[in-house]
Chain length 365, copies 4
């Protein structure tokens, strides 16, 4: 591993996901946070002041960050001077996000982004390290496009797909062919940031989330796509239908899945053993943030549950359970993933660890 | 209509559903509550005392009932002496429920039950008055089985199917053939009665309800079944798969439905007009508790919602919305029904109104 | 009563309180809503469009308003042309609120306001019709100040004091002297409007409301003050201390009160009979929105409760209960009031009814 | 410290508090859990089986306990044979609790109890180790009463007083004299165990807890009492008044306190420095479960909050904040304590550590 720590900038550091980044990066063995950036209105204040009354995590602000000065995210020169790697979780319009992330990358920085802006860009890989590490291959072409001296950009998928995509991967890898998936998502309020979801919407109520459904149905097709001519080509023989609802829960997105296969259907014991024994790349590489076991399987009929199971392996593992037959498709089950950890900051950090291990991200110091 | 009011006994009057019965029956034009019955431990007290600290409705106890004495549900003689019709919502074992309801009916009483015990009895009709009023025909054979002088028993289906079953009926009636349905249910806590669902299960959490799923998948098959030789024969060409979850909501069960058709699929405008224009028997008969419009259709992308829409038409109508295409089956949508009103007491009262109109239930006074 | 209906403008009609106004004013015997006004960005659309996705009441939009065009609140000429009386619930800065409300009044309109801006103006009466109807006397001096042809302005107090102020009034009227009061408030989220309180603040959490405490401690002093030289002089011999917290409840503010008296302390039976028998002016005048009984007293040890008791008398009555001795002061009890009905729109409407009955507000048509 | 680990029995191991005991005792440096006991109906099953579907903590069952056999709590012989120290959290009638705890102690076992049964026994110390460690002195007389060879019994106070009692202690120690205290408690549902508080009581609602108030008002008087003739004599010059309410929060009891002093009132800066600098016995002894700082003081106007601050120092510290003047008494503030950790299992473990350090509890092995 690189002996010098990678210097890291967190962009959008004062928001919900930014807070989660700092909570996870505190004490990270490879990465050292050297830049906290946010919108102009937070810039020029210490981080402690900037998040006063806006800190929403159960753990308090890591001490090393409270006195650090927040800079303007648009001050690319300073970011470049102090950091090698950028975690981008700033809230801008899609166009402005693309412009900003491209600017970082063009200046030689590596960018791992939680924003949706670049998810449809064919040469920007959308990575779940356990599922499609090979998609990093398109970075080569992307960098050529961005120009000489460029770093590169990878993105995280939407938090709403994190759980069920992980349950499909070991099935594909073992030769079964999931082809039809209907998911109904029970999504937590922290997915909307702060202030985010109004309390009037989720006390004694659940709220439809039409805006989440398109992402949930299309992003997995890119993740399970193939690399061809320096671009990701979407998978064609998988159809996904999604109902997304906000529920009165702080953290954790749960998917109630019905799944159909092309060709033969694996037996339930087979599925369970494939899930339990799955040992993909981040686990075999023992990346620092990789959960020991990416999927924890429950046999109890009433698990997983948001409150009890979202924090498994520090919120980095998925929880799956309630596997049973589906009278319409083939199988049904539920799975759960922590949306601001595995589904956002933690997932991006694991991606950056993979990119560091693969030699993309290096210390320039 | 009968000029004398039907005398009514509410069995299980102190429970959640029993409370809802009294709230709806207060001032009913055809029915007069003359018996409040419950388990032996509530018997011998006034209703006001019996529900002190256990009343959970937003409306307070109707005044005419507070001073009425609660009797033991097992005191069949007294029930018979004072009532013509029994609403049965008592919590007993299935065997004891069947024994009690049969005893009432054998004594000449008419029984409409919220209990699940008799739902699988082939000559006991499970009625949603808008959907399968013709199933009352099996009462004739049932009464023959119960013996000379018997009344008869009809049951309500489980509250978890009320919403989506109503959305299917007008499609069938118009000649389309729903054949595959996957529903994920967001079910309210009042469905479990009081004390019922523990708060630790539903604060910052949702809870799997494996016990609700079998009922949700099988009961519609009886409701859409056909009468043959004095029994209901289940529908065979409809497959239903259900995920049931408890959510932190007081009232209202919402179903997120994906629906597939055998043969042609109706267009979305067609479905909406069938829902809006549906005018089944209870509406054309103008039964007192029938909602003017059994299905209210929403065009807003974020409706229906539990808190805002469960009380439509006093909780007796279903709310449907979010109709859109399903990439796996054909269509998807959500629908909502008030679980303790339409899905329990109100639905049973409407059934009793239908049975009264059809001449089954009459006043013996 | 006036034979012609008073024409009424609701300013801030699209907000939470504005919605509540329309819900209550629909079918009002004296008032007819002729103007719906809001900020410039809602102006020019029908009311139905303007509140699409922003309607948060359990009852749906009254039909007569859905097609009505929303106008700009700053268009004073149009408001004047079409209305006699203005209900002001718009969200502006205090200075802009004062400017707008003064402008309405100077043009001859009568204004009843939910805004806090004018609460400290000594010649603007802050009215709870059951408690201080005599304070309307200062309107005479206020109108002189506002200039020739002016109408006048009255305001509602903050929703956080509505419950406990009503419990004190009958005690004062009977000659007892409450002098020390400590209240801890359990305040509902609808008090913050929409989107208002973030869900992250109130799921599995309660939130301190420092900004509500000053109002809660000082406004009752004006309400119990005396008229002198055309102004309200604050009561001096009452000290109030308040802790305000937001709780995960949709509607209803509950106060846990400890109360001390100067001089003798009334016995608990005395307090209860004073509360029960209180029959102040709005009740003896039978104003249309006056609850039959302004304070409903509970003897159950676990009442009042937000969900069960906030809607008493359509949300216009206060609920009091749990009266017991206080080992530090003299008595303690809890009381509850619906914050967006009695504590906001409904209370203002009752004030306008009183002003109409007293001859201040008249139809100019 | 004793070199051999103390063998520990957890009685009532399957309940909410019992689960918390095991979660904290897993890996404890001084104590080793050798007995898991519960009611007869759980006995004879492994712990894993016994809590299946009943485990309610965010951390999962510590692995070392899942296979351990649960025994009957009434099997005193086995408990005695395997343990030195008993943590008693079983749910029995007060009489049966006293009988059982006396039986353990008479057999030579040391008992630290979460039950309320013995709290009024004058020679049973009710201990908060930071506040009244000297009360252990009465154990000598208690053991004489219990008979030759007896161990002894200490109890934990009710979770509803944990927070505010800790805020008073450093004031007393510095010579100030708190004499009047009014607290309104916002208590979490986990305080009622499982299934405990019904969800219908706390969704969109808060629930009065009359049964908690007497304990809250009287137990501090024993804790601040003095030892005289082998018994605790209650403090007489402190008056406490309490309003207790259940709020829709999983963990954490928050008290909104108004406090009056006999004699001089300390300034707010003084109070804050006394709280911050308080370093009582458990901290100077560095007992394993003692928080580094028993009271964490917040300066933010909106802290402490249940969700954000209950877990400070693993749930063992109190959080205090919002100190401001009270217009009726002298000062007001809020304080928060984790009810099932510091207020139950964790507090009892800290008491046992103190008793071990003081030489009462020893290993007999």
């Amino acid at each position: 591993m690189s002996q010098k720590k990678i210097h890291v900038a967190v962009i959008g550091a004062t928001g919900m996901v930014g807070q989660q980044y700092l909570s996870i990066l505190s004490g990270h063995p490879w990465f050292e946070v050297t830049v906290l950036a946010a919108s102009a209105k937070s810039a020029g204040r210490t981080y402690g002041e900037a998040v006063r009354g806006r800190w929403h995590l159960e753990k308090s602000v890591p001490e090393e960050f409270t006195g650090m000065m927040v800079i303007d995210a648009l001050d690319i020169k300073t970011v470049k001077a102090r950091a090698d790697l950028v975690f981008s979780a700033i809230s801008l319009s899609p166009d402005d996000t693309i412009k900003l992330e491209d600017a970082y990358a063009s200046e030689g920085l590596w960018v791992v982004s939680n924003n949706s802006a670049h998810r449809n860009t064919p040469d920007v890989p959308m990575i779940i390290p356990e599922v499609n590490p090979g998609h990093l291959a398109v970075l080569k072409d992307q960098r050529r496009r961005l120009g000489k001296g460029a770093g590169g950009i990878a993105v995280k998928p939407n938090c709403s797909i994190q759980g069920f995509v992980m349950t499909l991967a070991p099935l594909y890898e073992a030769g079964w062919v999931p082809s039809n998936l209907i998911t109904t998502n029970f999504q937590a309020v922290s997915g909307a940031g702060y202030p985010g979801q109004a309390s009037l919407d989720v006390i004694d109520n659940c709220l439809p989330l039409p805006g989440e459904e398109h992402k949930t149905m299309t992003e997995p097709l890119k993740i399970f796509g193939r690399v061809q001519d320096g671009r990701i080509v979407q998978k064609e023989d998988l159809r996904i239908s999604a109902h997304c609802m906000r529920v009165p829960v702080i953290h954790g997105h749960l998917s109630a899945v019905s799944l159909g296969f092309a060709g033969e259907t694996p037996g339930m014991e087979k599925v369970i053993s494939l899930w339990k024994e799955w040992m993909p790349l981040p686990q075999s590489l023992k990346l620092p943030s990789a959960p020991l076991q990416p999927i924890h399987v429950f046999s109890e009929p009433d698990r997983p549950q948001h409150r009890l199971d979202r924090d498994i392996e520090k919120g980095m593992a998925a929880a799956a359970g309630r596997l049973r037959e589906c009278s319409v498709l083939d199988l049904r089950y539920t799975c759960l993933s922590h949306n601001t950890i595995r589904g956002a900051a933690g997932g991006a950090i694991l991606t950056a660890e993979l990119m560091t291990h693969e030699g993309y991200v290096t210390s320039r110091r």
